[in-house]
């Protein structure tokens, strides 16, 4: 395995490509059968970054009903997604969180409501419920990342996926 500090910087781009692919998969991909992609929607924040000619341009779109056209425009200019807020719904339960591309840290996790605890005996059950929800978020991120890596290291990435993403960006 590579030195951790070297690998962190060397493969930052992989996280940005992952989030860009994820937005495409949610919004532009016609194959809606792949779990867990079919249960995702874009939440209330996307940040993009465009590095060219030693300059960094950062575009942030925030708000519950914000239009994402500016984001697509940034993609057309060569930006990649660096941060994305996602909503995942399963059996009417909703998890919402922000993923950062650079390190895939998970921020502002919100999960389905848990009833309040009234006694110290309830605390363990409450903590277990919390753990279940955090594990759920981690599980769906891992499944999604696995789909991305499988696609990214296959021959189809250059032959099919990248052209599809380019068409979606232009559209």
């Amino acid at each position: 395995m590579l030195d951790i500090a070297v690998a962190y910087n060397r493969f930052k781009f992989l996280g940005f490509e992952f989030l860009t692919w994820l937005w495409f998969s949610i919004d532009g991909d016609t194959d809606k059968t792949r779990h867990p992609l079919n249960d995702f929607s874009i939440g209330n924040r996307i940040a993009l970054e465009n590095r060219r000619d030693n300059k960094i341009e950062i575009i942030t779109i925030k708000g519950d009903d914000a239009g994402l056209e500016e984001g697509l425009l940034a993609l057309q200019k060569g930006a990649l997604v660096t941060e994305i807020n996602l909503i995942y719904v399963e059996d009417q339960n909703k998890w919402q969180f922000t993923l950062k591309g650079e390190n895939l840290s998970i921020n502002n996790i919100r999960h389905p409501d848990i009833g309040p605890y009234e006694s110290s005996e309830d605390v363990d059950a409450f903590v277990f419920e919390k753990i279940h929800h955090y594990n759920k978020v981690v599980e769906i991120i891992d499944q999604t990342f696995k789909l991305f890596i499988a696609s990214r290291i296959s021959g189809n990435w250059i032959a099919q996926t990248v052209p599809q993403i380019k068409r979606w960006i232009k559209h």
Partner: protein
């Protein structure tokens, strides 16, 4: 924003290394040895150590339950005394005038000023209370997966260091490369492909 907060943020780690004796006893020993030290009324600016999840300001590892199912749940606390430069400047000026008057001069030498500043910082550090920050850890000791409930760079660096010192186990931070390498069960050929990847251009 810890584990029990309505919204939480986390950094993920993989715990690597082996514990040869009873894992629970080893962890308890490490928690006690590196328990947060009280720096109130002490001449220290910062203290970093473990504390209990359910009683972070009065840790008692002997009476503490830190295991829940197959998880260890405890917290790291960082106590820091924040001395603003303006407070230091104010007290330095007062002491400077007093010292100069005492010496019968209206100035102090370079060495005297340096020594006076150190004295002022030392006295203030002793007097001011520290600000505590508590960060929860959830460690699944069966899978080696650990959630650290902060994404702050400083807190992450502190927990990585403290964890190794306490348990002789390493925390490998999970980010795109390490996730692919450690979590996805890839073949050696696939890992080589990842090592040779270069950025994709999505524009013509």
């Amino acid at each position: 924003m810890g584990l029990l907060s309505p919204t939480a943020s986390m950094t993920r780690y993989k715990v690597t290394g082996n514990i040869e004796n009873s894992i629970k006893e080893t962890i308890l020993k490490g928690l006690k040895k590196f328990c947060i030290a009280d720096i109130e009324n002490e001449n220290f600016e910062k203290s970093v150590g473990w504390t209990s999840f359910d009683n972070p300001f009065n840790p008692d590892f002997d009476g503490m339950k830190f295991e829940i199912g197959s998880f260890f749940l405890f917290s790291m606390r960082i106590d820091k005394k924040n001395l603003s430069s303006k407070i230091i400047q104010k007290h330095f000026s007062i002491e400077y005038a007093r010292q100069a008057k005492k010496n019968g001069r209206d100035y102090l030498s370079k060495n005297e000023k340096k020594s006076l500043k150190e004295h002022v910082v030392s006295v203030l550090t002793l007097r001011i209370p520290s600000t505590p920050n508590v960060y929860d850890l959830l460690w699944n000791y069966e899978t080696g997966s650990l959630y650290f409930f902060s994404t702050l760079k400083l807190a992450n660096e502190e927990v990585e260091t403290l964890f190794f010192k306490s348990f002789n186990l390493s925390l490998v931070r999970l980010f795109p490369y390490t996730m692919a390498e450690l979590l996805l069960d890839l073949s050696d050929v696939e890992k080589d492909v990842i090592l040779n990847l270069s950025p994709t251009k999505f524009t013509d």
